[in-house]
């Protein structure tokens, strides 16, 4: 976590998904940066995101890369495109991995981390 991204992670403590916006361009900035890529200005603020989006791409992992909360079970890693535009990497949970499809509507759900932050995951909407 950097100084720049701290507001994102702080919001997850309240299970709020926030996205950086440039107020000059009225456009989202993702991933969090110190300037807007459109105008190189720093008129940035954090806005609540809808938490809704759709699966852009996904893969079912059958052999985890590292210890995960999913244990030995297959799990889904996906890119989810938020309604606001940005594309996030995440896990799709709350449904059988085989049922996930590209284009599937999803909404944010949260997984609690040991330090009180929450990780934004997605589930079928």
């Amino acid at each position: 976590m950097s100084e720049t991204s701290a507001p994102f992670w702080d919001a997850t403590r309240d299970r709020r998904l926030v996205i950086q916006w440039c107020t000059a361009c009225d456009a989202p900035v993702w991933f969090p940066r110190d300037v807007c890529l459109g105008c190189l200005g720093d008129a940035l603020e954090w806005r609540a995101a809808s938490g809704r989006g759709e699966v852009y791409a996904f893969t079912v992992e059958n052999k985890p890369a590292m210890p995960t909360p999913f244990g030995d079970e297959p799990y889904v890693v996906a890119l989810v495109e938020l309604a606001e535009g940005p594309r996030l990497m995440t896990n799709v949970v709350g449904c059988p991995p085989q049922s996930v499809t590209v284009g599937m509507p999803v909404q944010v759900t949260w997984e609690e981390l040991s330090d009180g932050r929450n990780l934004p995951l997605f589930e079928p909407a």
Partner: protein
């Protein structure tokens, strides 16, 4: 820059066991020595050094004091990028004889106590916050995401991806150095273990030892050397992301840009190409390159490969050494795209020789579909 510089010496080594007897600097120096000997040059002729980790350390080890140096690190495409930079430097008169080298022994290192140097990422790495927590398996995970998207948007099938592995294996059967030479079928690929859906084990490249080197010089000097020169007709490089979550469109790589620029410089069209050496870290990687370089329309890569177009006897010989899928893949495979192109254009490729090959493409892919670098290479007749 077109035709101003030429590849004059190459060397590469891999083995059917997947392991080599030497490693590290000894292997690198052996490759440089062999490539220089191939060219009829010596270390004393070298005034340009490329190395994907550190050209400064490597030049010091060789005792060379270069006036052109390049440590550009773009993963597997590093060697195509070095080739492009070296050709530009030679064309501009900055230097005369450039060497580039690669040696990596991940397979035999398993039984050896070594500190393998790893590609260094300088500066903050946002992936630690925005990707790593979600446990995407590396390196196949990002390619699996691209394959899933391509399938959803264009209807590409697992069978079509598998055909790339099958066609490549047919080429490997004719390369005595290839790790795997026994024929496989589409069913074999589909029956192999599902790694990251939709990619099966046989959709993935190997992990083997391997090494190679090349020597470049000016077209003028090249004509007096030991072997027929292979000219750099065009080159182009482009990257559009580092993290896969930042890739603008998972079905289209920056190869659209690198390829168009390289083809334009060379003054050629896809139809003019006799041989495509295309980085095949995974079957989906090779499929994206076919589309992005213009050998078929976007979305039609599956239908293109399904007919066996890239297999021996097909309209577009691709990865004639057996590729990363069946020949060798030591981690950053781009060097072998260049060495095989040169062998083919010289008519030195033995059983797998492509008849009358005059123009070859070496198309490197580095990072996670991130940095594409395209070299158009040709014989004297193409100048």
């Amino acid at each position: 820059m077109r035709g101003a510089a030429a590849l004059v010496g190459v060397a590469d080594i891999a083995s059917p066991t997947g392991e080599l007897d030497t490693h590290g600097r000894a292997l690198e120096v052996a490759m440089v020595g062999a490539a220089l000997a191939d060219a009829g040059l010596t270390l004393a002729d070298v005034d340009g050094v490329c190395h994907p980790m550190s050209s400064m350390l490597f030049a010091e080890y060789l005792g060379v004091h270069p006036c052109f140096t390049d440590s550009t690190m773009t993963g597997g495409s590093s060697f195509e990028v070095h080739l492009e930079h070296a050709a530009a430097a030679i064309a501009a008169g900055l230097c005369d004889v450039v060497i580039d080298v690669y040696a990596s022994t991940p397979r035999s290192d398993r039984g050896r106590q070594v500190n393998r140097p790893r590609p260094q990422m300088m500066g903050p790495n946002p992936a630690i916050e925005w990707e790593v927590p979600f446990a995407l398996r590396q390196p196949m995970g990002p390619y699996a995401l691209a394959a899933s998207r391509h399938m959803a948007v264009y209807g590409t099938t697992s069978e079509q991806l598998a055909q790339i592995a099958v066609s490549t294996r047919h080429w490997a059967a004719m390369n005595p150095q290839a790790r795997f030479r026994d024929p496989i079928t589409v069913d074999d690929v589909l029956a192999s273990r599902m790694e990251c859906s939709p990619l099966h084990l046989l959709d993935c490249c190997l992990v083997t030892d391997g090494a190679g080197a090349f020597v470049m010089t000016s077209a003028e000097r090249a004509r007096d050397l030991a072997k027929p020169p292979v000219y750099v007709l065009g080159a182009g490089t482009a990257h559009d992301h580092s993290m896969i979550s930042q890739m603008p469109d998972l079905t289209t790589t920056a190869g659209v840009v690198s390829g168009a620029n390289a083809f334009r410089m060379a003054g050629i069209k896809p139809d003019d190409v006799d041989l495509l050496m295309s980085y095949d870290s995974f079957t989906i990687t090779a499929l994206l390159h076919l589309e992005d370089l213009g050998f078929c329309a976007k979305g039609e890569g599956g239908a293109f490969v399904e007919t066996g177009a890239t297999a021996p006897g097909g309209s577009l010989p691709m990865n004639t050494n057996g590729g990363g899928l069946s020949y060798t893949h030591p981690g950053m495979y781009g060097m072998f795209l260049i060495t095989e192109s040169v062998k083919q254009l010289r008519g030195e490729a033995g059983d797998r020789q492509v008849d009358g090959a005059e123009i070859a493409i070496a198309h490197g892919s580095g990072g996670l579909l991130s940095c594409m670098s395209t070299a158009v290479l040709g014989t004297e007749a193409t100048l």
